[in-house]
Amino acid sequence: MIVRILAEGQWTVADDQLDSLNALDSALEAAIADGDALTFAKSLEALLDAVRTSGSPLPDDTLEDSDLILPPADATLEEVRELLNDDGLIPG
């Protein structure tokens, strides 16, 4: 599967990694639900690191869309909330 980290690029990640990514994703979602900025930052970092280390980067000139998209590494909790509400963070 292809995973994009916003503002960073795309990775090909083996399908058998999905479970562990999902577990990290759940932790991130819980932190967002709780409004816990510190846990949010830690979970986001853990999730992005998992993608970066288990995946291999796609070349810049590929035109493939991603199966999963992750927030940028420096995103704040509020920004991710906005992103999920589709509140103008993605122009166009």
């Binding site: 995973v3 994009r4 916003l6 503002a7 690029g9 990514l21 999902n22 994703d25 759940s26 991130l28 979602e29 967002i32 999730l47 070349p59 810049d60 000139d61 590929t62 035109l63 493939e64 869309d65 991603s66 199966d67 999963l68 998209i69 992750l70 927030p71 940028p72 920004e79 991710v80 992103l83 999920l84 589709d86 963070l89 993605i90 122009p91 166009g92």
Partner: protein
């Protein structure tokens, strides 16, 4: 549904919406390509804007560092003439300045990070736009409108996602830069007001230098007086008239009640 799946669906919905716009799918290709080029120049402008802000902060750091060095020198001078109070005042101001300098350095690092990110984003987008252009020409040359549709969808969704990503990155960089520019503007004002840049000319910032100067000129006056007394005991009134203006000036300099009005007073006497 996972967070990462939700975000990808949001991006895809945006791409689909954009794709529905054209009637002939092959027109969509040209339309999209034009938008890609627009976005590419927007990212490049973004890189240039962030670089401008970064340079501005660099300049400010240099100016504040110069001022900080000046305060150190003033403190040394003040100590040399036994005015610990003045030295303390100079060092107090220096420490306030140090805080500002550190703040600016942090901003500088942040701007540098944004600049690097946007530069990479523009490189990625450029590679994809080039790839899209090649594919667009192939599709237009080889396929009928009906056949073209699926190929276009494939090419389009990949680049749309990238465009959404890059568009967002530019927006975030602009927002961050705007915040920092507001603060940079305030510091520029402070510097151009002279309060920081030239502590020995105007306003509150100059009283240390002025006191040091006053002490120097006072000793000049004393030595000149001594020279006059020693040289011409029957001295002419004219010779004594001229230096008379100086003690008045010293008094003005030493009075700290209305520091802002003082430079005008001194000008009047000069």
């Amino acid at each position: 549904m996972t967070l990462m799946k939700r975000i990808s669906l949001i991006f895809r919905a945006k791409a689909d919406k954009a794709l529905d716009r054209a009637e002939d799918p092959r027109e969509t290709l040209d339309y999209s390509y034009k938008r890609q080029l627009d976005l590419l120049s927007k990212v490049r402008r973004g890189v240039a804007d962030v670089a401008t802000s970064r340079k501005r902060v660099e300049l400010q750091v240099t100016q504040l560092e110069q001022q900080s060095n000046k305060l150190t020198e003033q403190a040394q001078k003040a100590l040399a003439v036994g005015r610990e109070d003045l030295a303390r005042e100079a060092l107090t101001r220096k420490s306030a300045l140090t805080g500002q300098i550190n703040d600016l350095r942090a901003q500088h690092a942040q701007l540098q990070g944004e600049e690097e990110k946007l530069t990479l984003a523009s490189q990625r987008l450029q590679a994809k736009v080039e790839s899209f252009r090649t594919r667009k020409e192939t599709i237009k040359a080889t396929y009928t409108a009906a056949e073209a549709q699926t190929r276009i969808n494939e090419a389009f969704s990949g680049i749309s996602e990238e465009m959404g990503d890059v568009g967002m990155a530019v927006q975030r960089a602009e927002d961050k830069t705007a915040q920092m520019q507001a603060r940079a503007g305030a510091i520029d004002e402070l510097i151009s007001s002279g309060a920081l840049d030239d502590a020995s000319s105007v306003g509150r910032g100059d009283d240390i230098a002025r006191e040091l100067e006053a002490m120097t000129s006072q000793s000049d006056v004393e030595s000149e007086l001594a020279a006059l007394k020693a040289g011409a005991s029957g001295g002419s009134p004219q010779a004594l008239d001229a230096p008379e203006a100086r003690p008045a000036q010293i008094e003005a300099s030493q009075t700290e009640a209305t520091p802002v009005a003082e430079p005008r007073k001194e000008e009047g006497q000069a």
